[in-house]
Every structure is written in structure tokens, then in C-alpha cells.
């Protein structure tokens, strides 16, 4: 029964009770009742009735029990058990908290913000804007558990994965959640490098004690990119003691790294074994669905609304979260500067210009790409660059053009020249077509990924 049904139902019961009692009795006792729950068990109903005070409860129980039971049984058509419970009607207390009261509401945001700053937690990174998919579900669940129950769930929590998969976001989100619950929690977020610098400074200024006070008394220590301390003996030793001090007092330690502890070279054995004692989770590169979700979150944060088609178009063509962020910034800037609307065409034209401006992506010469594509699709190089427009040839050729254009950033004309002296408009068409297909066709996405990996 929904809440509205329940209210109407109870009203109906009360109306029938009203007939049998005096108005004064009705308004004194029965108006202070409400229905909490109604459950059918076997062939009986169990009814829970809430009363505002125990005086109401005892009076109705003693004097009007039969009356209420009769009405209920008649209305429900089955016999019923009634339990009276003293509980205030939630609706009457709903109006609570309508207006802020100065002593409690003031500076709450400021306070949390300052606690974020103190802990060096980035307030923008929280669980609410962390998108979860199969690639990071495990890590997310572990992080949630740690945030709910710091120090007990998994200690230490070791998150590892490639660049831009969301390790730091997850770590910040844990800190965010802990601070949300308790502004006064002593937590600190730093990178492995900062930790190192702090020790070095401590040694130089003879203030190792203050360094120890800073780290060892924490409720929660977050160290990003812990692999940086590998190979630094003094730092590792200090970290070892810090780690023991924090976990020994029931504190939580969360670490991230770009590889699992077993693969961090020059890491002391005692540290490695400690890392391995907690939970080690990895985050892999975001899959297509996750990228879509990330794009939606990021564009929403920046106050633009993309259609699902556009979102998929971007997700299909860009494969890491950081690049997505970069692309969105570029998209917004482009739209603002040229006073354009964000349309699929605009997205497509930006994608066509090549995403990886840093040149970090594939570094191969065009010929290697041609051979990779030919090999992947098992078509002859000659056929691929030839004149045939049969589908088994034409599609790989278009993929080749797409790769040459987006991954190697060759000019359109150059792409055309490489692919058997084709016109630049043919190349444009191919790039547009493939980026479009990518949004809907999983097979082609995998093909492209496979070719990229083989390069």
C-alpha cells in the first residue's frame, strides 16, 4: 500500500469509528493516531497504529480496541491483529528544519571547506560524481566500505591502476565522505613525493618531531603515488613507522600507486608485506559505458547539456578520463569563442582534428599503421590501398584513414596520399563515418583498440 493509500484507508476507518463515539472523544483520541503499516500474514492482517502519546495509546487500547478492530476487519474483510505504538506522526515533524538556525547553520560550509583545505582533500572529488562501472566497481565498493567504517573495513586500502583511471578521485572521495560525517576527523592527503619532501625538510631543519606529530597522530592517512618512495631508504623507514603508528591507533591508511606492490621495484619487503595485508584493488581503463557516464558528469558540472548521441560519440573516440576532460574543455572553449552551439557536427569536427594533441598516443609511421590494419583484417596491403570499394576492403580502409587522421594527426591531404592517392574529402567522409559508427558498434571499437595495441 502506498503512503497515500494508507492515509486514505486510515481516514476511512476513522470515519467509521467517528459514527460510534462522541465528537469530543474522537477529536481527543482518534485524531492523534495514524497508520504505520499494514501487512498481510497468512489470512490475517497485522496492523500497526501510531499514537502521539502513551495516554492516547492506553486509552484506545483499553476502551476502543474492539471498535477499531471491528472497523478494520470489516474494511479489510479479514480478521486482524492491531498493535499500538507510541510514535509521533512523521508528517507532523516534517516541518522541522524549515529555516536555518544561526548557531547551527552558520559557517557549516566554511567549516567543512576549511577542513578540506587542512586535509588537502579536493572538494570536487566525491562519491556523488564518481561514475562506477565494471572496470572500477570493486575499487569503488572497497572505498565506500572504508569511508563508512574507516580503520576497520580494509586497512590499508591499496588502489592501483594506470593514469587517469580515477585513483586519486576515489581517494579524495573517501576523505570527503569521512569529513562529511565528522568535520573534526584528522585526515591528511599527500602524494608520495610530498611525504618525501616533508621528511627531507624535517631532517634538514631538525624538526623530525613535528613531522612525526603531523603524520603519526592521524585518523586517516592518504598517500597518492606511493611508488615514489621506493628506493629511498630513509623515507621508507619513516613511512614504515608512520604506517604502524596510524594503523596501530585504529587509523585508516589509503594508498595509490601505478602498479601493484609486488611490482614496485626497490620497495622494502616489510612494506610490501604490509601493503599486501590489506586490500589491493586495481582500476582498469574505463570502458565505453563508464566513459559515457564520465562525460555526462563532467559536462553537467560545466553546465552544458549534451545529447546522448553526442556523449556516445565522444566516449567512443576518446579512451581516457583525462583526455575526456581535456576534450570537453576544448569543446566548450571552441563553442564559446566561435559562439557556436554544441552540436554533433561541432563535436565531430573537433574529434576529426585529432584528440591527442600531446602526441602521447600512437607513435608510428603511416606505413606501420597501414600494415597493422592490413594484418588485423587479413587483407592485402595492396587491396587496402587499391581501388576496390567492396565492403570487406572499404571498411578497413576507412578505419585506416580514421586512425591516420586521429592518432597520427596527419593532414587530410597526407592521409589521402598514403591511402592510395585519395581525395581529402574522401578522408573527411571516412573519419566522420567511423567516429559515427564507433558510438554504436562494439565490434569496431574493439577492432580499433586491437589495432592500436598492435602498434
Amino acid at each position: 500500500m502506498t503512503i497515500i493509500d494508507q492515509k486514505a484507508f486510515w481516514h476511512e476507518i476513522l470515519e467509521s469509528v467517528k459514527v460510534s463515539v462522541s465528537p469530543a472523544i474522537f477529536s481527543t483520541w482518534f485524531t492523534q493516531t495514524y497508520l504505520i503499516g499494514l501487512e498481510e500474514i497468512n489470512d490475517r492482517f497485522s496492523v500497526q497504529v501510531g499514537c502521539n502519546s502513551s495516554y492516547v495509546k492506553t486509552t484506545i487500547e483499553n476502551r476502543y480496541f474492539g471498535l477499531v478492530q471491528d472497523s478494520l476487519s470489516k474494511s479489510l474483510g479479514k480478521s486482524c491483529d492491531i498493535a499500538f505504538i507510541v510514535k509521533q506522526n512523521p508528517e507532523s515533524t516534517l516541518k522541522e528544519g524549515v529555516k536555518p538556525i544561526p548557531l547551527f547553520e552558520t559557517n557549516k560550509d566554511e567549516e567543512t571547506l576549511s577542513s578540506f583545505i587542512k586535509a588537502k582533500i579536493k572538494p570536487g572529488f566525491n562519491f556523488a560524481n564518481y561514475a562506477v562501472s565494471t572496470s572500477n566497481q570493486m575499487a569503488w565498493a572497497a572505498a565506500e566500505a572504508v569511508a563508512q567504517n574507516p580503520g576497520n573495513a580494509y586497512n590499508p586500502l591499496f588502489v592501483w591502476g594506470g593514469v587517469g583511471v580515477g585513483k586519486t578521485h576515489l581517494m579524495n572521495a573517501i576523505g570527503h565522505a569521512i569529513l562529511d560525517k565528522n568535520v573534526d576527523a584528522k585526515i591528511y592527503f599527500c602524494s608520495g613525493e610530498e611525504f618525501t619532501n616533508d621528511i627531507v625538510e624535517g631532517i634538514r631543519n631538525k624538526t623530525t618531531q613535528s613531522f612525526r606529530n603531523k603524520y603519526r597522530k592521524l585518523d586517516c592517512l592518504f598517500i597518492d603515488d606511493i611508488q615514489f618512495i621506493a628506493g629511498k631508504d630513509a623515507v621508507q623507514e619513516e613511512f614504515f613507522h608512520t604506517f604502524n603508528a596510524v594503523t596501530g591507533d585504529g587509523g585508516q591508511v589509503v594508498l595509490t600507486s601505478d602498479r601493484p606492490p609486488s611490482e614496485i621495484a626497490k620497495l622494502e619487503e616489510r612494506l610490501r608485506s604490509r601493503f599486501e595485508a590489506g586490500l589491493i584493488v586495481d582500476i582498469s581503463q574505463p570502458d565505453f559505458e563508464l566513459r559515457c557516464a564520465i562525460i555526462q558528469i563532467k559536462t553537467k558540472e560545466r553546465g552544458i547539456d549534451l545529447s546522448m548521441d553526442t556523449v556516445q560519440l565522444i566516449a567512443a573516440n576518446i579512451d581516457s578520463a583525462r583526455k575526456i576532460e581535456g576534450f570537453i574543455i576544448k569543446l566548450i572553449t571552441e563553442a564559446k569563442l566561435k559562439n557556436l552551439e554544441v552540436t554533433q557536427e561541432l563535436v565531430q569536427s573537433l574529434l576529426g582534428k585529432g584528440v591527442e594533441e600531446t602526441g602521447k598516443g600512437v607513435r608510428a609511421n603511416p606505413n606501420e599503421v597501414v600494415s597493422a590494419v592490413a594484418k588485423y583484417f587479413s587483407v592485402g596491403k595492396k587491396a587496402l590501398l587499391g581501388q576496390s570499394r567492396a565492403r570487406p576492403i572499404a571498411l578497413p580502409r576507412q578505419i585506416l584513414m580514421y586512425l591516420l587522421r586521429t592518432q597520427l594527426q596527419l593532414p587530410l591531404e597526407e592521409v589521402g596520399r598514403v591511402v592510395g592517392g585519395r581525395d581529402h574529402t574522401t578522408v573527411m567522409h571516412a573519419v566522420a563515418k567511423i567516429s559515427q559508427i564507433l558510438t554504436s558498434d562494439v565490434q569496431i571499437r574493439q577492432d580499433i583498440l586491437g589495432i592500436k595495441n598492435s602498434l
Binding site: T59, R63, L103
Partner: protein, 368 residues
């Protein structure tokens, strides 16, 4: 029902009970006081459905029985009788009262519609509160409860039971008062919020008592106090009490200690003008002194300088003089301490002779 009872005892009990009867209730029986016999006691009970009271008075019972009588009528009758023995006899729905040279018949009602209210307290499961300390603490806290019904939870006093310490807290959102009292062997209980009105009655009802029994029934949402022969019950306020610990400032940059009476006088002087201007008084904290000033655009202005022990920088803060006055009235020691950190953060007020008392007042923020 037939019995004899002493006028002194009955009159006092009726006077107390009549405060809880509600003359204007829709249900007439709620405007009545219930009289019933129990062994050698006459029990006098009344309720307004928020709070209920039951008082036992020693009596000579000849015949058992019970009846309800309009509170006003019986209270006025009995309190005007001469001290001495009164005969009371109930027959059907009428009560006959007689003493030497006086007789009266009062129409009452039968007790079937009268709600059942707690008439005894289980001493075993109750907490024994030392009366004086408890009532003193209550007086230092309960004035800070809110009168605004839109936030019902703040109209009550929060009771927190900690090992050996009972903490009472009240706040109306502008100020907060907290007092701790040491009580040995306090059982572990959930915190509860009790309405202010029955707590206020406690001091009136417990003039002769040494101890107050405190019994919490979470399932019934009911709290019962036992004061000698009087049982006072009230419902518990439901809702979540705001997290007050979070707003107590942990550190402060300015610490001031001043003579209480001097400050009270200064605040009263300032209030003359402050009344015209939103009750605002200004505290100017300088080296070794505090200036209390107020001004009104129509009436004029004033400034009082009082000597103070000050640590910290020069500082200026605005307060509602009523809050300062309220606080100064509950301080028992000769000096008061004030700690501030910023003109927009609550100030921490205290009594250096009583570290169990903590008071926060939110400053007035003047939009400039």
C-alpha cells in the same frame, strides 16, 4: 468511595494537580481531577495528555472507589476550608464533601473516560537524581530552550547519560547552555529530549523532597519522575537533536575575565538604549578593559568601561543584551569568562568557579 483526609494535604495536592487539568479540552473529563483510593492512600491525578501527575495523600479509607471531579470547583472548595479532617464520599457521579459545619455536593463524572496515567514508579529501574544539583542544573539550562514551535525538538532539554555524568543541554539556535552533573553509577541510556514544561514543574513539586527518581520508558516514549508521593510523567520529544558538540568552538584567540556584577550592571545600562536598536550592545575588548556600549538613534548613547583580564588582541563584537543578561543571571560565581575567536563565531561564556557550565551565544551580525 468513602474516606477521611486532612485538608492541608488534600488542598496542596489538588492545587498541584489542577495545574495539569485542561479546562478548555474538548473532552470534558480532561478538565477533571481523578480521585481514587488505593489501600491507605487517596490518589489525585490529572493530565493534559502531554504531562500527567499523580499525587498520593495519606487517608483513612472506609470504602474504596473512584470518581472524577471538575478541577476548578474542587480545588477552590477544598483550599478555602478550615484545616482539619474532611469527609469525602462518592456515590455514583456525585461527590459529597463535609467538614465541621460545612457540606457540599459536587457533580462529577465516572472515571471510564479518564486516560490511564502512571501512578507509581519502579524504584529499581530508576535513576536517583540529587535534587538540589539537578534542579540547579536545570535552571541553568532550561531558560535557553526555544519557544518557537516550528522546531519542536528545540523546545526541550536534552539529557545525555554518560559514565558518572549527566549532561543537560538546551539551545534555541542563538545560544546554547550546557551543564554537567556528576552522578555516581549512572546506567547507560540513550539520550532523550524532554519538554520544558514538566521540567519547570519539578522545582515546584519537590520542595520537600531530597531526591528525584527518574525513569525512562523508551517503548512508551514516556518519562516518569518520582518525587516522594508525586509521580510526574511526560512524553519525550521525538526528533533528532542538532549536533551541538560540533559548534562548540575548540579554540579561541581572545580570552576575557570580568566581574559578573559589573558586567551585569554595564549590560543593564546599555539595555536602556539597546532596546531601541534591535537589542544590540557592543563589546569593545581592549587591553585590560571591556567597553560595553549601546546607542539609539533617537534616545542617545552610553558607554561603560569595566576592568578585565584580557589575553589576545583588540576585539569588537555585538550581542543581543537579553542573551547576555540571561546568562549573567544564572552564573553563581563572582566572575565570568568570555572567549571569542571572530565577530561572527559564537562566543564561549563560562563561570571560572564552575567548569561544568558552558554557555554559547551567537553574536549579532550587523549587515554593513
Amino acid at each position: 468511595m468513602k474516606l477521611q483526609v486532612l485538608q492541608e494535604n488534600l488542598a496542596k495536592a489538588l492545587l498541584n494537580a489542577s495545574r495539569f487539568a485542561n479546562q478548555r479540552a474538548q473532552l470534558p473529563v480532561l478538565g477533571n481531577i481523578k480521585l481514587s483510593t488505593k489501600k491507605t492512600k487517596l490518589q489525585i491525578a490529572s493530565t493534559n495528555l502531554e504531562v500527567s501527575i499523580s499525587i498520593s495523600v495519606g487517608a483513612q479509607i472506609e470504602k474504596e472507589g473512584e470518581i472524577t471531579i471538575p478541577a476548578k470547583v474542587i480545588t477552590e472548595l477544598v483550599s478555602n476550608l478550615m484545616p482539619g479532617t474532611i469527609n469525602i464520599e462518592a456515590e455514583k457521579e456525585q461527590l459529597k464533601i463535609s467538614s465541621s459545619g460545612f457540606s457540599s455536593t459536587v457533580s462529577g463524572m465516572n472515571t471510564s473516560d479518564f486516560p490511564s496515567i502512571p501512578q507509581s514508579i519502579d524504584a529499581k529501574t530508576s535513576i536517583v537524581l540529587p535534587k538540589k544539583e539537578f534542579l540547579d542544573a536545570l535552571a541553568q539550562v532550561s531558560f535557553a530552550t526555544s519557544v518557537d514551535e516550528s522546531r519542536p525538538i528545540l523546545t526541550g532539554v536534552l539529557f545525555i547519560f554518560q559514565k558518572d555524568t549527566l549532561i543537560l543541554v538546551a539551545t534555541d539556535g542563538f545560544r546554547l547552555s550546557q551543564k554537567k552533573i556528576k552522578i555516581a553509577n549512572l546506567p547507560k541510556l540513550d539520550q532523550v529530549v524532554l519538554p520544558r514544561s514538566p521540567l519547570g514543574e519539578l522545582s515546584r513539586l519537590s520542595e520537600e523532597a531530597e531526591e528525584i527518581l527518574f525513569n525512562l520508558k523508551k517503548t512508551d516514549n514516556q518519562i516518569t519522575f518520582g518525587i516522594n508521593d508525586t509521580i510526574l510523567s511526560s512524553r519525550i520529544l521525538e526528533g533528532e537533536y542538532p549536533n551541538f558538540e560540533k559548534i562548540i568552538p575548540k579554540e579561541s584567540t581572545i580570552k576575557v575575565e570580568v566581574d559578573k556584577d559589573e558586567l551585569l550592571r554595564a549590560v543593564k545600562l546599555a539595555s536602556v538604549f539597546a532596546r531601541d536598536s534591535a537589542n544590540i550592545v557592543k563589546l569593545n575588548i581592549n587591553k585590560g578593559s571591556v567597553d560595553v556600549s549601546a546607542e539609539s538613534s533617537n534616545a542617545g548613547n552610553q558607554k561603560t568601561k569595566i576592568d578585565a583580564k584580557v589575553t589576545g588582541e583588540k576585539f569588537e563584537i555585538d550581542y543581543n543584551y537579553r542573551f547576555l543578561e540571561d546568562f549573567l543571571h544564572i552564573v553563581k560565581g563572582e566572575t565570568v569568562s568570555m572567549e571569542f575567536s571572530s565577530p561572527t563565531a559564537p562566543g564561549v561564556f563560562g563561570d571560572p568557579s564552575d567548569t561544568n557550565l558552558l554557555h554559547l551565544i551567537m553574536p549579532v551580525r550587523i549587515q554593513s
